[in-house]
Structures are given as C-alpha cells and as structure tokens.
C-alpha cells in the first residue's frame, strides 16, 4: 500500500503549534537562515529549479511567479507578499491543518518568499471563519518577532520584513487573487480586470506576490534540502508532495500528504477504503470548482497535467467520494447553489447564469423529463458564462457540469 510522505506535515502532532521553541527544535527557521546567506536571485533560481507549482489550484510555477514579481517595476517604492489563506473551496482543509498545527512552517516560507523578491511588507489574508488558524497565526507572528525572524534587520542580515493579518468575512470569491487584493484594501470583493497581474500591479498598485499557504510551506524544505532533493519526490512535471483532503464515503476521511502522482484508488485505500464497504460511484476532485470522475479514473495518476489531459482537475487537492446509492445530481445541485450564493453580481452572465443553473439543476435532481436536453442546455449556458465572466467564479460552473454530463448522463 502507498505510504504517506510527510515533508510539510512532518511536525504535525509532534510539536506544540503555540510554542516557537518547539518549532525551532524541530528544525524550524533553518531554511530561512540558509536563504538569508544566499542572494535573493539565488533563492528564486533554486525555487525555479525545484519545479514547485502553486498549490492553490492553478499549478502555476512558483519560481517563475517570484521572478516576474521581483523583476517588475524596479522604480516602485514598495512590493508586497500576500499569503492566500482564504481557504474556502468545498471539501478543502489542507491550509487549515498547516495553520493550526504548524503555523511557523508557512510563516517561515512567507519570510523566505519576501526575501526572494525583496518585499518589506506582507499580509496574510485568512478567512474570517477560521478562528483557530487566526489565533495560531497571531501567536506565531508575535513569537517570530520576539525571536528576530520578523522585523528590522532579520537575524542580522540587513533585511527588513513584517506581516499583518487581514480577515476575510465570508466571501469565497476573495480567494481569487485579484479579488483578494480588493478585499485586503478594504473594499467589496469585486474582481479586477487582468492583466495587469498582481506581479505588475497588485496590492495598493505595487508589485505583489500572492501565494497559497501550502505553496509557501514548501519553501523552507526546498531551500534547506535543495531543489535536487525536492525533485526526487513526485513526478517530473509535478514535483513534491500534495496534501489531499479526502472526505465523504470513505472509512477514514482526513488529510494525507502524498507524493504527486498518486492514484485516486491508492488515496481511497489509504483513507481506509470505502465507508461500510460500499461500492465506489464517483468522486468530485478539486471541490465545487472541480470535476466529477467515475470509476474509470480510479487508476489515473493525480498530477496537474495528467488530470488536465483527461478532462479532470487536481485543484486544491479536495477529493469528495460518493458511493453507490448516493445521488450525484444532489452534489451537482449543491455546487451550483454555492456558485449562485457566492457570485458577486458584477458580471451579468454570472449573476443571471448561476441562478438559471440552480433552477435547472433543481429540475434535474427531481428527475423531470427531457433531462438530456436540460443537461445540454445547462452545459451551453455554463460555456457562455465561462466565456463572458471576468473571474474564475463565473468560469467554474462549466467544470462540474461538463464532467457530470460526460459520466452520468445515462443515470438521469
């Protein structure tokens, strides 16, 4: 059986997350010490060589993002690091685990990222419902300041950096990087038009690096052990590990850190197999903005590229498992209701379209006649929304819808 490969989560459950001395004894801030002895460009090179890709869902190469941000607008008086800790994708709780159980790991990663792009100020945008994550992060920041890991002249290197926590307030859309920056500036969570990307014009109009919590948690390990070591884990194009959060009809739902390239079947086996020995029916990969798969995908390797080639997504690493007897169209309805609730209303196709889709999904789940046509209509509408909405929210309903229609058309 596949075994867990704990790189990020190796100290989870071992250290007291409220105690910085504990974290330091377990090797915390060693990556930072090493990074501060390197040139910022060397840190970026090392990250580029590692092949690390953003763990928020899009899988964009992290080193490249840092390079863009570092090289952009050299005259700008300020550049920022923003930590995306607005975890809200249904079925996802990997960032919560890091923030609650080993907050110093991602804080260290944040400081390394700031050093790499020479940012002196950072923000951690945490969703408002994550009280425990907020408290643990507040404590971690205070303790890191006291130890000289944050503030002026960090560890005598001459590098200054400090961070501040910004709270979200119940908007899923603010997990999208440009919308997050609007919210961070104290405005309504409406998406910005891109380009410009945050690397050029981010928070307060300055070059900004926006990284996910799990992405940043990789940085200390990569710097400490080197990119060659990192590349021995995972696959050629998706190196490293991924924290999968598996839930639904499995015996042991939870978070599992595994090398990239694990199969869905291996993950289900690790999670104790199916609950009460029921048969597998479907999984929703990547949450509401993800894709349904059926049993034919159980042995596909879960990497960004392989899943994309097969018409599926890895996304945030959320895996929601359904068993024989569960109604897949109930879950589809739930996802579409979610989008309707979270649509900000700025783009008309998204505002009207998400409501339309919920109405039709309601008919679908009540088993009204003419369902194949109904489903085709829904896919068509979602395609229009995807082509005419500004941000990923309006572009997402097509993902669960199209995959649902591919695998579960006959069932309706």
């Amino acid at each position: 059986m596949m075994e867990e490969k704990k790189i990020l989560l190796k100290n989870v459950g071992v250290i007291d997350p409220g105690c910085i001395d504990d974290a330091i004894r377990a090797g915390g801030y060693e990556g930072l010490k090493k990074a501060l002895k390197m040139a910022p460009a060397q840190v970026i090179d090392e990250l580029e060589r590692s092949g690390l890709r953003g763990r928020g869902g899009a899988g964009f190469p992290t080193g490249m993002k840092q390079k863009f941000t570092s090289d952009s607008c050299l005259k700008c008086p300020q550049r920022y690091v923003v930590v995306n800790a607005d975890e809200g994708e249904p079925g996802t709780f990997k960032d919560r685990v890091i923030m609650e159980k080993d907050p110093h790991l991602y804080l260290e990663g944040t400081i390394i990222a700031a050093f790499a792009i020479q940012a002196t100020k950072g923000y951690i945008y945490i969703r408002g419902e994550y009280h425990e994550s907020i408290r643990k992060t507040e404590q971690a920041i205070r303790d890191a300041r006291n130890k000289g890991f944050l503030g002026k002249n960090i560890l005598g290197s001459g590098f200054d950096f400090d961070v501040e926590i910004k709270l979200g307030a119940g908007s899923y859309l603010c997990g999208e990087e440009l919308t997050m920056l609007e919210s961070l500036e104290g405005k309504r969570g409406h998406p910005r038009i891109k380009p410009p990307f945050p690397a050029e014009k981010g928070a307060f109009g300055m070059p900004t690096l926006v990284n996910n919590v799990e992405t940043l948690a990789n940085l200390p390990r990569i710097i400490e052990h080197g990119s060659e070591w990192y590349r021995t884990i995972g696959t050629e194009r998706s190196p490293g590990t991924k924290i999968f959060t598996i839930s639904g009809q499995v015996a042991k739902p939870g978070y599992y850190e595994l090398p990239m390239g694990v199969t869905l079947q291996e993950l289900i086996d690790l999670a104790g197999g199916m609950r009460n020995g029921r048969a597998f029916k479907a999984a929703l990969l990547g949450g509401a903005a993800g894709t349904f798969v059926d049993a034919s995908m159980l042995n596909e390797r879960m990497t960004y590229d392989n899943l994309r080639e097969k018409g599926a997504t890895l996304g945030s690493g959320a895996v929601i498992v359904l068993a024989e007897g569960d109604n897949v169209s109930d879950i589809l309805y739930n996802c579409l209701r979610f989008f309707k609730h979270e649509s900000c209303g700025k783009c008309v196709p998204c505002r009207v379209g998400t409501a339309q889709l919920v109405n039709k999904a309601g008919q679908l789940r009540n088993g009204h006649s003419g369902n194949t046509t109904l489903l085709q209509q829904m896919v068509r509408e979602a395609e229009i929304m995807a082509g005419t909405s500004l941000c990923p929210l309006g572009q997402s309903p097509i993902l669960p819808l199209e995959s649902f229609s591919r695998y579960f058309k006959e069932l309706q």
């Binding site: 409220g18 079925g91 996802t92 408290r135 205070r142 006291n146 307060f204 839930s247 900000c344």
Partner: protein, 202 residues
C-alpha cells in the same frame, strides 16, 4: 508533571471540544511564553465586550485597508452580533470614507449583519460533504430545538440560525460553528447536548 497531568485529566474529561487545553498541558513543560516586547497585542477574533466602539476603532491605524478587521472587531463587541448604524458612521468618520462605501462593504460580506442577531450565532455548514452526510437532518433537529427558521432569532434572543459555506471540517462532517467554536460529527444527541450546554451557560 503534576500540573500537566491535571490539565490532561481535564482534557480527557471534557473531550475533544477543549483540545486547546492539551496544547497548554504540553506548553506547561517546556514553552516559555513571556509577555511580548511589542505593543501589538490585540487579538482579532476576541470579544471586546468591555470596550466602546470608539475604543475598539482607535486600536487600528486609520487606513481603509483596516476596514474589514475593524468591522469584525466592532461586530464582535456587540452582544447582539451586529453592526449598528452608529458603528458604521463612526467607522466611516475614523477612516475618512463615505458612509455609503462602509455600508456597501458591510452589506457585501456575509459574516457581517446590519440586523440584531442572537447572542450565540449558529452557522450550519451546507457544503456538499456535509449535505452528503446528512446536514439536512441536523438542520431539522436545530429547527425543532430552537423553534426558528434559517436567518431567524429565538424569542429569548439567545440563538440565531444561519447557513455557512464549507467550514473546512470535512473529515468529521456534518459540522457547525457556534460563535468561534466548531462542533463536528453531529448527530441528534450531540446537537441537543451542545445547545443545552450553551443554554445553561447563557
């Protein structure tokens, strides 16, 4: 040793909802937690019941980017968990923003309320995972116990029932939050027990 054993017993007695105590038990042994050298001691999620709106707002630098943090802190300080018109006005004045822009932000985010709510805010998770694992049953139980619908407040002003999108507790669904506490693996018995416990504390 004696001390940490004592905390551990409390932990075992009260069960999983007080897991913070276990952290403390560990911390007693080897983690020195001295007072911070820095002044920034405000805890963003605390209930500042003893402070006035003005005192709370003044803890923050008067810049627009602090707006959401301020609204959270002000709302937390109100026993009815909401933002009064006066609070919005004071915030707007302090940040030199128009009243309408502050109102617009407060209206946009679902965690903020412009109407009075109960002292205890129940947020039932209605994510796909919780729905799959019978969150609807928990909703029926909550409604039966409280005698209210979603978005309503009990007549004694104690509870307001709301829905929440995924709370990120999917390993032990179905889940809900009451104020800042998460309750997982809910069934009829557990849901009733939690409500009773809060009623007794008032």
């Amino acid at each position: 040793m004696l001390e940490s054993g004592y905390f551990l017993n409390i932990y075992l007695y009260f069960g999983r909802h007080f897991s913070g105590l276990l952290d403390m038990a560990g911390a007693q042994q080897h983690c020195l937690r001295g007072a911070s050298k820095h002044q920034d001691q405000k805890v963003l999620t605390d209930k500042h019941i003893h402070m006035s709106t003005e005192e709370i707002i003044k803890q923050f630098e008067p810049a627009q980017h602090n707006l959401l943090n301020i609204l959270h802190a002000v709302q937390n300080s109100h026993p009815q968990n909401y933002l009064t018109e006066q609070a919005l006005e004071e915030t707007a004045r302090y940040l030199k923003l128009t009243k309408s822009s502050v109102y617009g932000v407060a209206r946009y985010y679902t965690m903020f309320s412009l109407k009075p709510r109960g002292r205890h805010l129940i947020r039932l998770c209605v994510s796909p995972v919780c729905e799959l694992l019978k969150a609807n049953d928990i909703l029926a139980i909550l409604q039966k116990h409280l005698g209210i619908g979603v978005g309503e407040t009990t007549s004694d002003g104690l509870f307001t029932l709301e829905f929440s999108e995924c709370l990120g507790q999917c390993q032990e669904a179905p889940s809900m939050m009451i104020n800042d506490q998460v309750y997982n693996g809910l069934d009829e018995e557990e849901t009733g027990r939690v409500l009773e416990e809060i009623r007794k504390k008032k």
